[in-house]
């Protein structure tokens, strides 16, 4: 079956520091990877959509300078949150697309102190 792993599951960082999170698709080749953030209020925001060998498309209010993404192959993607502040806290979900379905990992929960 299609599985998506994310690492770490939970992380705490000091305000102004950075942290990197990883996403691995297992059992399938993801045609694209989308990074979402779920707020503490449970709403979702798309950060960026990444397709291998294509430019990464960032949504409004999210930039490459703040959330650089690496997507070197069809099964792996990583994203860094640079200079994290309180408003960056939340659950970061990686969605790997197979066909018409997007499978999500368990998320990386970011707490900022």
């Amino acid at each position: 079956g299609a599985l998506v792993y994310q690492y770490p599951r939970r992380t705490i960082c000091k305000s102004g520091t950075s942290m990197r999170m990883e996403c691995q698709a297992v059992g399938f080749q993801a045609t694209s990877v989308a990074w979402y953030r779920q707020s503490p209020q449970k709403t979702f925001e798309l950060i960026a959509l990444s397709t291998v060998n294509s430019a990464i498309k960032y949504e409004q209010n999210f930039t490459q300078e703040k959330f650089p993404i690496s997507h070197p192959n069809l099964s792996f993607s990583s994203m860094t949150v640079l200079n994290a502040y309180l408003e960056d806290r939340g659950l970061y979900l990686c969605g790997a697309r197979q066909g018409f379905t997007q499978y999500f990992g368990p998320g990386t929960r970011l707490l900022v102190l």
Partner: protein
């Protein structure tokens, strides 16, 4: 811009009861509709999707959903719920425009509580 509305923020049922979680969308084009489940503190688990064909689609763990173009709805149903079905359920819509345009728009979620 597509929107997704889940009218019930919280639904409570007894174990063994049937349940229907409502989802309405607004978009006139070709779209995909999906349902996801999120247990407390966890990520999103895919339940089922609809694009075309039979408007009733079957998903995992006995869930099914029915697409209605006239009502712009994609309600999720289960005939007999189990306590482990307690979770937040999200309805999602994405455009069928191919290429890299595959943004999911989520509803606000419905918290399903199944009591013994």
């Amino acid at each position: 811009t597509q929107t997704v509305s889940q009218s019930d923020a919280h639904v409570t049922v007894f174990e063994g009861d049937s349940v229907e979680l409502r989802c309405n969308y607004s978009y006139g084009g070709s779209i995909y509709l999906s349902w996801y489940i999120q247990h407390h503190g966890r990520g999103l688990q895919f339940l089922l999707k609809y694009y075309s064909g039979n408007p009733v689609v079957q998903g995992v763990n006995g869930f099914e959903a029915e697409f209605s173009k006239s009502d712009s709805s994609f309600h999720l149903r289960k005939a007999s719920v189990h306590w482990s079905d307690s979770a937040v359920y999200f309805c999602a819509v994405s455009l069928n425009s191919g290429g890299s345009n595959y943004k999911l728009t989520f509803g606000k979620g419905t918290l399903l509580t199944v009591t013994p």
